[in-house]
Each structure stands twice: as C-alpha cells, then as structure tokens.
C-alpha cells in the first residue's frame, strides 16, 4: 500500500507494515504529553483507580504551561503543589515545573522528545506543531489518562491533505499569514476536518523551524486534527543535537500515496492578513481594518512564541515605542527562548519600548494573565478569538502575525507593518 507520512508513523506505532485510512488500529505511543490542569485531575483519578504511580513514566510528560504563575483567586497553585508532590513521591522525572516549563509544544521539541517518525498522544490538537520535526501529534483529549495506566490505545487513521509550499514570503509577511490564508479557505468548510495536513514542497525549507512549528500549530483552527511536515537537513541537525542517542525514523510519503486534496500555496502571493472575531474564517487583508483602535497587543501562544516570532516583533519595535493607551504583552514560549531573547538583547529592547515581557506559559491566550475587560480590543498572535476566551465577552480579539501585532501596538490601531519595516532584512531568510 502506498502511504502518507501519517499512515507510516501510525503503522510503525502499530507494528504493522501498513495501515488504511479510516481503520481503527491499536498503537503503542512513543510519548504522551499533557498540561498542568489535566495532569492534576489525572493524578486524582489515578488515586481513585487505585493506581499509585504512572505505569510508563519515561513516556509521559507533564508540563506546567497553563498555570505556572500562581495568581490570586484560583486554586491552581495549590493543585500544582500536589502535582509536584506526586512527581517527587513517585520519582516521575518528566515533570516540567514552574521555572523549567514553557509551552508543552516547545518543551517536546527542545528536549528532544519529539523526533521524526514518532507518535505522540496529547491533550490538544495545537501540539501538531511537533509535526515540524516529523513527529505526529494524535490529540486524544481526556484519554491521556490511559497512557498513565497502560502502553497502548486506539487511533483512527486519518486521511491526509497535502499542502505544497512554493515561492518566498514577501517582506513584512509571516508564516502566520499563511495560517490565516488557509483558515480563510478551510475554517468555514469541513474540508480539513478529521484529516492530517501534510506539508512539503520546495519552500518548506525556506521557512525557519520556528515558523514551521507555528504554521502547524495553527492547522487545528482551519479544522485539521493534526499536521506533519517533511523532514529536511535543518530538522535533522536540530534533532541530532537534542535526541541524546534516542532513536527516530525519517519517513517520506510514497509516490502515489492517496490524499483527499493536494494544494499548492505560493508564499510570494501572501500579504498581511487579520482574522476578525469571532470566527476563524473571517480573514481580511490588514488594509481593510486600518485605523481600528486597539487597547492590547500580544505576541505569544503556541502559534507565535519562538525566537523568530520575537525577532519579528523586535524588527518593528527597534525604532518605535508602544503607543500610549496600548498594553503590549510578549510571552517567550520557554525558558530556552526567554534566555536566548535576553542574549540577543530583545528583552531589553521590548522593555525600553514599553512592552511587558511575561514569563513562559499560555498567559494571555486564555486570559490567565493579561485578561481582557469590557470594551478591550486586542490584536494578538494567540490561537482563539471567540467571545470570553480571554476574559470579558465584551472584548474583541483580532488575530494576526507578530509583525502586524507589533506595528499595531506602535500605531495604537490595526496597521500594515510593511511601511515600518523599510530597509529591514527578513528574519525568514536566516537559517
């Protein structure tokens, strides 16, 4: 049988030569990753089930990313203390505690858990970002509990849609604009639903690994269950540095593998795009919103919290202050990103320009920090835009690239970033 990358990864995890689209198969996951809120719930459920420790602790990863900062008025800090105590008592090592934690999407890649050809169960479809290094995220929601008890679970083999990338991103345009373009086309249909988006084509390698992760993290909002990309030398170099001897397998799709659709996206035709709330398919060129006043601007979330995203924001902020009346939050995605941003002088730059740098975590994306109040208008690189997602229902969340967010923060209104970038190099060109 001729297979897609997703089929090959699932077949390997199932111990089978091949698997057919639509089949239910039993697989042994390579890893299972979950966030803090579910981890705490699950250790309580383990107690109820009479299970004293995680059955395969080396294969389970828990990351404090939703609530690593203790805040007033919630019980999360106390729960995290119980989780910490559980990890200590049972010798569970893959517990990424506050101070060592970032978004699990980044932790998986930075710590070499996500590697080519591996199958990862998780609690969230956005973790498809790990597909950028050739690992397949299978979102199983509350069933991550199963992986704390045994070493197998079922998967329904998804159909794939193939996206070929060509061309080069124009100046001031970001991989996030490709996410918006894909959402504009697919989020109002169910063309990607229960499918895996497989990325390839000559221009995949022109996107930095950071940008590829952000791109794949956004495919859920176009409707897809998951996403995976072909592996190039950039990925192999990155993974070899971090695999620490742990195995991996590079899979390429077979000639003649079956796709529900094959599409080419020419990066050179893209422009800065903004998603108008509350849906994901309400995507318009930034020029159509020019002048819409904002009160908050945020760079962060699993879509846009890596070094290249911060560098893009810094390109805009290098010569411009954040406008009065705008609160700008920038959230590096992990301690590694935070430290690198410091080494490159970005933390100092952001601070000097009037932006607030938050500690790693999901922060503003669900209003845990930087909550929106009545009347707020946010422009954000975050992932969701429905009413009440990040605080008040009477607040609007526009979604855009770090370039658009930073330029809008400077202007105090939604703005095309390109005029502010005159003479600037394009971060994408750097590998």
């Amino acid at each position: 049988m001729r297979q897609t990358i997703a089929q090959k990864i699932i077949a390997r995890a199932a111990g089978a030569e091949s698997v057919a689209v639509g089949d239910y198969v039993t697989v042994t996951p390579d890893y299972t990753v979950m966030q803090d809120i579910y981890f705490w719930k699950n250790i309580k459920l383990l107690e109820r089930l009479g299970v004293s420790e995680i059955a395969y602790p080396d294969k389970v990863i828990a990351v404090l990313d939703h609530t690593p900062q203790a805040t007033l008025g919630t019980g999360y800090a106390a729960r995290n203390r119980e989780s910490r105590e559980f990890a200590r008592r049972t010798g569970f090592k893959n517990f990424f505690d506050a101070g060592r934690s970032g978004l699990r999407h980044l932790i998986m890649v930075e710590h070499g858990f996500a590697r080519p050809g591996l199958l990862v169960f998780s609690d969230e479809p956005n973790i498809a970002s790990i597909g950028a290094v050739g690992a397949l995220n299978i979102p199983i929601s509350t069933e991550v509990l199963v992986s704390m008890v045994r070493d197998s679970n079922w998967v329904r083999v998804p159909a794939s849609v193939r996206f070929e990338l060509t061309g080069t991103l124009p100046r001031g345009v970001w991989a996030r604009d490709l996410v918006q373009a894909i959402c504009r086309e697919y989020a109002g249909s169910d063309g990607l639903m229960q499918r895996c988006v497989e990325f390839g084509g000559p221009s995949l390698s022109r996107l930095s690994l950071d940008s590829r992760q952000g791109l794949l993290a956004g495919m859920y909002h176009a409707g897809a269950d998951t996403a995976v990309a072909e592996v190039d030398d950039v990925v192999l170099g990155y993974v070899q540095d971090r695999a620490d001897g742990r195995p991996y397998t590079v899979f390429t799709p077979d000639d003649g593998a079956e796709y529900d659709d094959v599409r080419t996206w020419d990066l050179s035709t893209l422009e800065p795009l903004v998603t108008v709330p509350p849906r994901h398919d309400g995507v318009v060129p930034v020029s159509q919103l020019d002048g819409r006043e904002i009160t908050q601007a945020t760079v962060g979330s699993c879509a846009s919290n890596r070094m290249d995203d911060l560098r893009a924001a810094a390109q805009v902020l290098r010569d411009h202050d954040v406008a009065p009346g705008v609160t700008m939050y920038i959230t590096p995605g992990s301690p590694e990103v935070y430290a690198q941003a410091a080494r490159e002088g970005l933390i100092e730059l952001f601070t000097a320009r009037g932006a607030t740098v938050l500690s790693p975590g999901c922060t503003t994306c669900w209003g845990y920090l930087g909550a929106l109040s009545d009347g707020d208008v946010a422009i954000s690189t975050n992932q969701e835009n429905y009413p009440g997602r990040a605080g008040s229902r009477n607040a609007d969340i526009y979604l855009a690239s770090p370039y658009v967010v930073a330029a809008s923060a400077v202007a105090g209104q939604i703005t095309d970033p390109r005029p502010m970038l005159a003479g600037e190099g394009v971060a994408h060109a750097r590998q």
Binding site: G22, Y24, T26, I37, Y38, W40, K41, K44, L45, R48, L49, G50, V51, H66, T74, G75, Y76, E124, P125, P139, I140, S141, T142, E143, L145, V146, V149, R150, W154, R156, P158, S189, D190, M193, Q194, Y220, G223, D225, P278, R279, W366, E384, Y386, P387, G388, R389, R393
Partner: protein, 182 residues
C-alpha cells in the same frame, strides 16, 4: 468527584427524539460557554452543567429536553471544545449526537463522557426537529422516523467497550480489574 454520577452506561442502540441544530455550534461558545465555566478545569455538578447546555441557543432547553433525546447538528459541531461540553450534553440527558462533521478530539472527549458522537454527511437534510431517529453504533445503521436509512462508520469494539462501561474512568476500572475485553 461530582462528575461520577454522569458515569452511567451509554447505549450502543439509541432511539430518541431529535433536537436539530445548525452549523458551527462550538463546544466552547455554543454547547456551553467557556466564559460561564470559570475556572477552567474545575469539576462541575452535573445539574449545573445541564442548566448550561445550549442555554444561550435554546433558553428553555433544560426544561424541555427528555432523557434519551438525540442531537442532530451541522458542520463543525463541538469544535473547539473542552471537557465540560460533552459532559453538559450527557448531563442534560442527550443519548447521542449525529453531526455533519466534527473533529476527532470532540468524538473522543464525548466518548470518554459516555456520549456517542458520529459523523453522517446528509443527516441534517434527512431529519427535522422533533423527528424520531434510531442509531445503532455496532452497525453504523441509522433509521429516521420516516424510514430513511443512513449509514455511518460503526464504533470499534474498543469504543463500544468505553461506551458500555459508562465512560473512560469506569472503563479503566474495568480494565484494571481484568474485566475489559478491548
């Protein structure tokens, strides 16, 4: 946990009255509202969840729904969602959902709450609000009140076992006791 009272066995053959909804009823701002259920991750009493179910779409839903009713909905039902969405449907008495499309996370999340969700392109054209509908998850066969037969992919034995157990946690109790077949 209060949610444990939700854990009664789901049925592999469901026959009930249809509540019909349109396209893009999300789990986070449709079935329930994420903004109504602070704080994220807290356990909610089933009676409270039942009151939230569709409350902003059909204000008297909680008083009119009867146990065993079936939701029929359009594209993207339950997308995106968090665990309270299927738990609210279950708490309200909904026995199954048949939808034009949804994502796999919602299907699994719902199964874990003992709520079977199946996709069936064409279902919204085939049934009207208030119609009878029968769904057999073991065969994937669905029959409307007027006798129209539609098909969906049957549940796998592993899925049926979770459903029959009453959701994920009771299933794992069974599994750990060596009583699970799949």
């Amino acid at each position: 946990m209060p949610a444990s009272s939700l854990h009664t066995a789901g049925s592999a053959v469901v026959r009930g009255r249809v509540w019909k909804f349109g396209d893009w009823i999300s789990g986070d701002d449709g079935i329930v509202r994420f903004s109504d259920l602070r704080n994220f991750g807290d356990d909610h009493d089933p009676a409270e969840l039942a009151r939230h179910c569709f409350a902003h779409l059909v204000p008297d839903f909680a008083s009119r729904v009867t146990p065993g009713d079936i939701v029929v909905a359009g594209r993207g039902f339950g997308v995106p969602s968090h665990p309270p969405a299927p738990m609210a449907l279950r708490a309200a008495g909904i026995a199954a959902a048949v939808v034009e499309s949804t994502d796999s996370a919602f299907i699994r999340r719902s199964l874990n709450a003992a709520l079977p969700v199946v996709t069936c392109p064409g279902i919204t054209a085939a049934v009207a609000d208030g119609d009878e509908l029968e769904v057999d998850l073991t065969t994937g066969r669905m029959v409307t009140g007027s006798g129209t037969v539609l098909t969906t992919k049957p549940f796998s034995p592993a899925m049926l076992e979770v459903l029959d157990s009453g959701g994920l946690v009771p299933y794992l109790e069974r599994y750990l006791a060596g009583e699970a077949r799949a």
